[in-house]
Structure formats: structure tokens, C-alpha cells
């Protein structure tokens, strides 16, 4: 009887061990002894491809570099890449496919803010770590959750605030004309701008325009009537070019400051505004650590040429936002390394919350915290006269803080 009992006990223990062993391993999807599967998504097609195609390529080339160096605790990073078309329904489909069908360990994606916010509830409910690519994605970052990290390029709140900070400090502006969009981006950056305007005692004259606007005469005339010390344009490329052109036509000679969202190609902007005469007193915001292609970030462009020689040979490649993909991939690698040889999603999330490092790519460091999910808040400014780009001294940020 004792023998039977002992045998049953041993069998029970063995079954329990055998049963729980693999089950424990299976609790973390996307992990094998030799690989970690990461699900990436970005706009890889259509009109918004420029926002994400080369950004995803940059993240992939960084993962390749890590793999060549031996991976993370012996595991190689395996990337599954999906096209999200910058559209909420497609992005959610891509995320669900990566999580449920491809069984990835964590997500690294999103270049379009409004679309990526649509996945928020799903990733939070399923406790999947989501590290955005280059979307500001403020709607998914505030209020903060344990699962979503982003704004590696910059938070839109910081964009607006930094624009005011630069205008106030550099030109002593007391009244600024502020053009933004009547969409999510516009609402977020205006909130940041208001916080800094209040702190710097700057009066704001605001015109919110539709991204598809064709004629900016009316908003421009309203802003000029306010007699501003500087014109701040926080829009996408088309309204920005129209506004700069209109300002030149109307003889506006005060500083014009364009946000990082306003152009991906300065030479194209010069053509769109009718030549260098429109850019006599013109400044553009950037979030990189240096001028595009400058010595501080040359290594990123060199890595791109090495990784994608065919793409690099094409005109307009790498696309302007390419370097933005590096800090998000770096963050994932650092968090995985910190999570140790037996990573879990929870361990990686805890490690993400403590990240504080200089990527060497962006104007400011990547800093997360217990309730901070937006990585970068710093910007630089460049004077552009149609030919030459001159880096302006200093790094500018926003005083805006989330008041949850």
C-alpha cells in the first residue's frame, strides 16, 4: 500500500512538474531558448508611408546589429513586421494578428498617433508591452498605463511648448501667432504651448486650420492683425508651405518658426514656398541630436547605408524620420537585457519604467519613470535660408506636465 502511495505521490509530483514546467515556459509567448519574437507595425504603403517605412527599417537594422553581437542573453531577436496603413482598423488588425496569431513577446510599432491610440485598450487588457516606434501617440501615453511607452521622437505637448520656449528665449517674443491643426495633434501641442506661454508671459494668437486647407489667406491675415513678434507654424507640410508662402507674399518679415511636423524635406519646402526669398527669417524645429546627417548622428546614416545599400541608393532615402526608429529599438534591447536571462513581460515592463539613457540620436535623453511614458521632450532649432542649415545654440523643451 505504501509502495502504491509512494508511486502515486512520485507520479503526481512528476506530472505536476512536467505539467507546470512547459506551462510556465508557455506563459510567455514569443520566447524560445534561442529567440525573442518582436511584433513591429508601421505604415509601409500608401500616402503615409514616409512616416514609418524607414523608421521601421532603422529599428530592424538595430536589432540586426544586436543579433550580430550575440543577441540578448543568447537569444536572437526575430522581427515580424506588419503594415498598419496609418489607419485605426488596419492597425488594430495588425496588432491582433501579431499578438494572437504570431504570438509575439512584445510590440514595437506605431507611427501615426490617432491610429495607434485605437490599440490602447487591447494591449492594456492583454498586458502586452507596446513600445511605439515614432508616433507621439499622446492619447495612448496620457494617462499613463503600465504597458505603453512612446514619444521617442517627441510628445506633441513638448512640441508646442518647445516652440514657445524658443521664440521667447531667442527673440524675446511677447506675442506669438500660433497656427496648428484642428485635430488631435493640434489639441495636444496647443495645450503644451499654452503651458509655456503662461510661464513665459507670452500672449498667444491662435488659428487652428484643417490639414487639408487650400487657402490660408484668412487665417494668416487674422494672425498678422494681432501684430505678433513671431509666427509659429505647428502643422503638417501642406498648410505649413502655404502659410510660409503667404507670409512672404504679404511682406511679413518677423521670424517664422516651423515645427518638426511641418516638413520631412527642407529642399522640397524651399521649392514649395517659391524659393529662398520666403525663408529669409526662417527656423525649423528638429528632435535629433544634430543636423540631419551631422557628425553626432552620422553613425546612424552609415549603418543604414550598410544595411540597405539598394534603398540608400534611391533618391530621398533614407527618409527624414529614419533615425527615430533607433531609440525605441534601443529601449527594447536595454529593457530585455535588464530583464535577465529569463525575461517575462512583467520584468521587461518594470525595466522599461527605469530607463534613462542618451540614445546619441535624439536631442534629449530617453527618460521614463513610474508615471512617465513619453521618452523625449527636447528639441533643437535650425536656421534655414534655402541652402544652408545652421544649428541654433541650446536645447528647448516644454514646461507642460500631465495632471492626471
Amino acid at each position: 500500500m505504501t509502495v502504491i502511495k509512494s508511486t502515486a505521490l512520485a507520479a503526481g509530483l512528476a506530472a505536476a512538474l512536467l505539467g507546470t514546467g512547459p506551462a510556465a515556459a508557455q506563459q510567455e509567448p514569443g520566447l524560445t531558448p534561442t529567440t525573442i519574437k518582436i511584433g513591429m507595425f508601421a505604415p509601409l504603403s500608401g500616402a503615409n508611408m514616409a512616416y514609418g517605412f524607414d523608421v521601421a527599417n532603422a529599428a530592424k537594422m538595430y536589432y540586426d546589429k544586436i543579433n550580430k553581437e550575440g543577441g540578448i542573453h543568447g537569444r536572437k531577436i526575430e522581427v515580424v513586421l506588419e503594415d498598419d496603413r496609418c489607419n485605426a482598423n488596419d492597425l488594430v488588425a495588425a496588432v491582433k494578428k501579431l499578438v494572437e496569431q504570431d504570438q509575439v513577446f512584445m510590440l514595437n510599432g506605431g507611427s501615426c498617433s490617432a491610429a495607434v491610440v485605437a490599440a490602447k485598450e487591447y494591449v492594456v487588457r492583454n498586458k502586452v508591452p507596446l513600445v511605439m516606434l515614432n508616433a507621439s501617440g499622446d492619447g495612448a501615453l496620457y494617462p499613463p498605463t503600465d504597458y505603453i511607452f512612446g514619444a521617442f521622437s517627441i510628445s506633441q505637448y513638448a512640441v508646442g511648448g518647445a516652440m514657445i520656449d524658443f521664440a521667447a528665449k531667442t527673440f524675446g517674443a511677447k506675442k506669438v501667432a500660433y497656427v496648428n491643426h484642428d485635430d488631435a495633434y493640434g489639441a495636444w501641442n496647443l495645450e503644451g504651448a499654452k503651458a509655456d506661454a503662461e510661464a513665459s508671459k507670452v500672449d498667444l494668437a491662435v488659428e487652428s486650420v484643417n490639414p487639408t486647407i487650400n487657402d490660408v489667406t484668412a487665417p494668416f491675415l487674422k494672425l498678422r492683425a494681432a501684430n505678433p513678434d513671431a509666427l509659429l507654424i505647428v502643422t503638417y507640410a501642406r498648410p505649413a508651405a502655404l502659410m510660409i508662402k503667404k507670409a512672404a507674399e504679404m511682406g511679413f518679415n518677423k521670424p517664422i518658426i516651423l515645427s518638426v511636423t511641418g516638413t520631412a524635406n527642407l529642399s522640397q519646402l524651399m521649392q514649395n514656398v517659391g524659393g529662398p526669398d520666403a525663408l529669409k527669417n526662417f527656423y525649423v524645429q528638429d528632435v535629433l541630436a544634430d543636423l540631419p546627417g551631422g557628425p553626432k548622428i552620422k553613425w546612424v546614416y552609415d549603418m543604414y547605408k550598410q544595411s540597405y545599400p539598394d534603398l540608400a541608393a534611391k533618391p530621398d532615402h533614407p527618409q527624414a524620420y529614419m533615425p527615430y526608429g533607433i531609440p525605441s529599438a534601443m529601449s527594447i534591447v536595454k529593457a530585455l537585457q535588464a530583464a535577465g536571462p529569463n525575461p517575462t513581460r512583467e520584468k521587461v515592463l518594470e525595466a522599461m519604467k527605469t530607463l534613462n539613457f542618451d540614445s546619441g540620436v535624439m536631442a534629449g535623453p530617453v527618460v521614463f519613470g513610474p508615471s512617465e511614458r513619453a521618452a523625449n521632450k527636447a528639441t533643437i532649432f535650425i536656421k534655414f535660408d534655402g541652402t544652408n542649415q545652421t544649428l541654433q545654440p541650446g536645447v528647448y523643451s516644454s514646461r507642460w506636465k500631465f495632471k492626471g
Partner: protein, 308 residues
């Protein structure tokens, strides 16, 4: 043949959540929602011949109305969906009244303008729609049951889609459906036959908007977020394309178009480098070789094979 097709469709619908992942079920939910949107557009364009380009707006009204009802007032989801449908229908009737004075391209432009205006409302009525931040929608609820996954929502999405399909068939076979088609063929002849043309048009707009509103309510069963960007003219054009590809004027075409075109679109998403070219080529091929739509094309082929 119809019986066999219906049996196969029913078997697929039943088996789907049992043998596939949540991702596939999400796609099924989305395609069934677009199917109801297509049925609504079929009623106003295919049956009644009135060019309406405001479908995304009615869909949005349905989403916001159902979403706000469920989230802010805790209404059970069947009630929320009905609220979405009725809110859209009420506005659809008003648009139908305006439409009485217009036809053809003028009607198309007027309804397009309404769609754009509604998107502006969604974007700027911050207190109600969340404006540019989008609106978070609480998971649908019914007597303590909460739909938190796509598989939870699926049976109810299917049931609603089937109910709307049956309703479409009932309307098409009723006197009202015959009135719709009479108006489509010739308003003068319809009037001579005693069809109240004006009233028929208004009813068509109202019913079509009701379908779009119900589709919006269905969306809130499996999605917890809506942003005005998803409710623009592209959505209307997508639905119109589905209806035309499926076959204008046929219920089977509207259903087949929504499913076929939705699947093609999702499959093409897996081939980013070629999808725009492939998408365009598929549309051109459909218009060249199946101008009456996919449903009529397949029916002709089937009849040809039987007679051969």
C-alpha cells in the same frame, strides 16, 4: 444552390470562432459590420437609385450614439445599438427631406457636404465626441455579461448582421421595395403608377441611415475606441466600392462585395510593396470583366456551367 450556399455560410460562421484566433474573429466582426453598412448603401443607391455619399457620417452617428449610451448611461448593448440606428435614421430622414429637391450629381455633392460637415462635428464637439482625442467606449454589457474580446462579441455581431440581412430581404420583397425600384427606374412612371415618390425617397434615406447606425452600434460591440479620422470620405468610398464590386442593386452583391473586398484588402496588407498596384488592378479587372458585380459574374458562370 441557394440552400447549399446558405448552409456553407452558416457552417463557416459557426466554426469560425472555434477554429481560429481572435485576430480572424476581429476581421469577421469588422467584415460583418461593413456588410450591414453595404446593405444600407444598397437600399439607397442600389434599390432606390439615389446617390448618397454620407454613409460614413451615419455610421459615425451610430457609433457615437451607441457608444455614449453604453458608456455614459450604462444601457444594455441591444438598446445601445438600437439608439445608434434610430439616431442615424432620424438625421437620415432630415437629409432625405433635403434630397427631395436634388438629384444625380447635385444630390451626391449635397450628401458629400453633409458627410464632411458631420466629420467636422465629430472632430470639434469635444464635450460629446471627445473631439480630436477620440472617444473611449466602455465594453458592451448585457445583464452583467461584458463583451471584452472579439470572440465574446462575435455571436451578437453575427446575430445582428443576420437580422439586418433578413430585414433587407423583407423590405426588398415588400411593397416598399417595389416602390424603391420603381423610383429608381423612372420617377415619372412610378408616380403614374401611384407610388408616392417623395415619401419613398425620404424613407429610403431613413432606412439606409438606420442600417448605417446599426452598423455603428455593432462596431461598439468589439471596439472600444473611435476617432473621427476613421469616419471620413474614404470610408464612404470604401463602402461604395464594396457595393459596386459586389453588384449594384443586388442584396447578394452587397454582402459578397463587403466580404470579398474586405478580405482582399486585408490580404493585400500582407504585401505592402505591391498592394496599391494590386488594389487598383483588381478594381480595373472587376470593372472590365464583371461590370455587373461579383455576384452576377459568379451567377452567370454557374448558369453557363450547368447549361454546358
Amino acid at each position: 444552390m441557394r440552400f447549399v450556399a446558405l448552409t456553407v455560410a452558416a457552417a463557416i460562421l459557426i466554426a469560425l470562432p472555434l477554429v481560429t484566433t481572435g485576430y480572424v474573429v476581429y476581421l469577421a466582426n469588422l467584415l460583418l459590420t461593413f456588410t450591414v453598412l453595404c446593405l444600407g448603401m444598397h437600399i439607397v443607391i442600389g434599390e432606390t437609385g439615389q446617390f448618397s455619399l454620407a454613409h460614413a457620417a451615419f455610421y459615425g452617428i451610430g457609433i457615437y450614439a451607441a457608444g455614449i449610451a453604453g458608456t455614459s448611461f450604462g444601457t444594455p448593448f441591444p438598446v445601445s445599438i438600437l439608439i445608434g440606428g434610430l439616431a442615424a435614421a432620424a438625421i437620415g430622414f432630415v437629409i432625405g427631406m433635403v434630397a427631395l429637391r436634388m438629384r444625380d450629381i447635385y444630390l451626391a455633392l449635397a450628401t458629400f457636404a453633409f458627410g464632411e460637415a458631420m466629420q467636422w462635428v465629430f472632430l470639434n464637439w469635444n464635450a460629446v465626441t471627445g473631439g480630436p482625442n477620440g472617444l473611449r467606449i466602455a465594453p458592451a454589457r448585457l445583464f452583467g455579461l461584458e463583451l471584452v474580446t472579439d470572440k465574446d462579441a462575435y455571436p451578437f455581431v453575427v446575430a445582428t448582421a443576420v437580422a439586418m440581412l433578413v430585414l433587407t430581404v423583407i423590405v426588398a420583397r415588400a411593397r416598399l421595395g417595389r416602390s424603391f425600384r420603381a423610383v429608381r427606374e423612372s420617377e415619372i412612371a412610378a408616380q403614374a403608377m401611384g407610388v408616392p415618390v417623395q415619401r419613398t425617397k425620404v424613407v429610403a434615406f431613413g432606412i439606409s441611415a438606420f442600417f448605417a447606425g446599426i452598423a455603428g452600434g455593432m462596431f461598439t460591440l468589439f471596439s472600444t475606441y473611435i476617432h473621427p479620422d476613421s469616419l471620413g470620405f474614404q470610408t464612404t468610398i470604401l463602402v461604395l466600392t464594396m457595393v459596386v464590386v459586389g453588384g449594384l442593386g443586388s442584396i447578394g452583391g452587397a454582402v459578397g462585395g463587403a466580404i470579398a473586398f474586405g478580405l482582399i484588402s486585408e490580404l493585400l496588407r500582407q504585401a505592402p510593396s505591391f498592394q496599391e498596384i494590386a488594389y487598383g488592378a483588381i478594381l480595373i479587372l472587376f470593372m472590365m470583366y464583371a461590370p455587373k458585380g461579383l455576384f452576377a459574374f459568379l451567377a452567370d458562370r454557374f448558369r453557363g456551367a450547368r447549361h454546358a
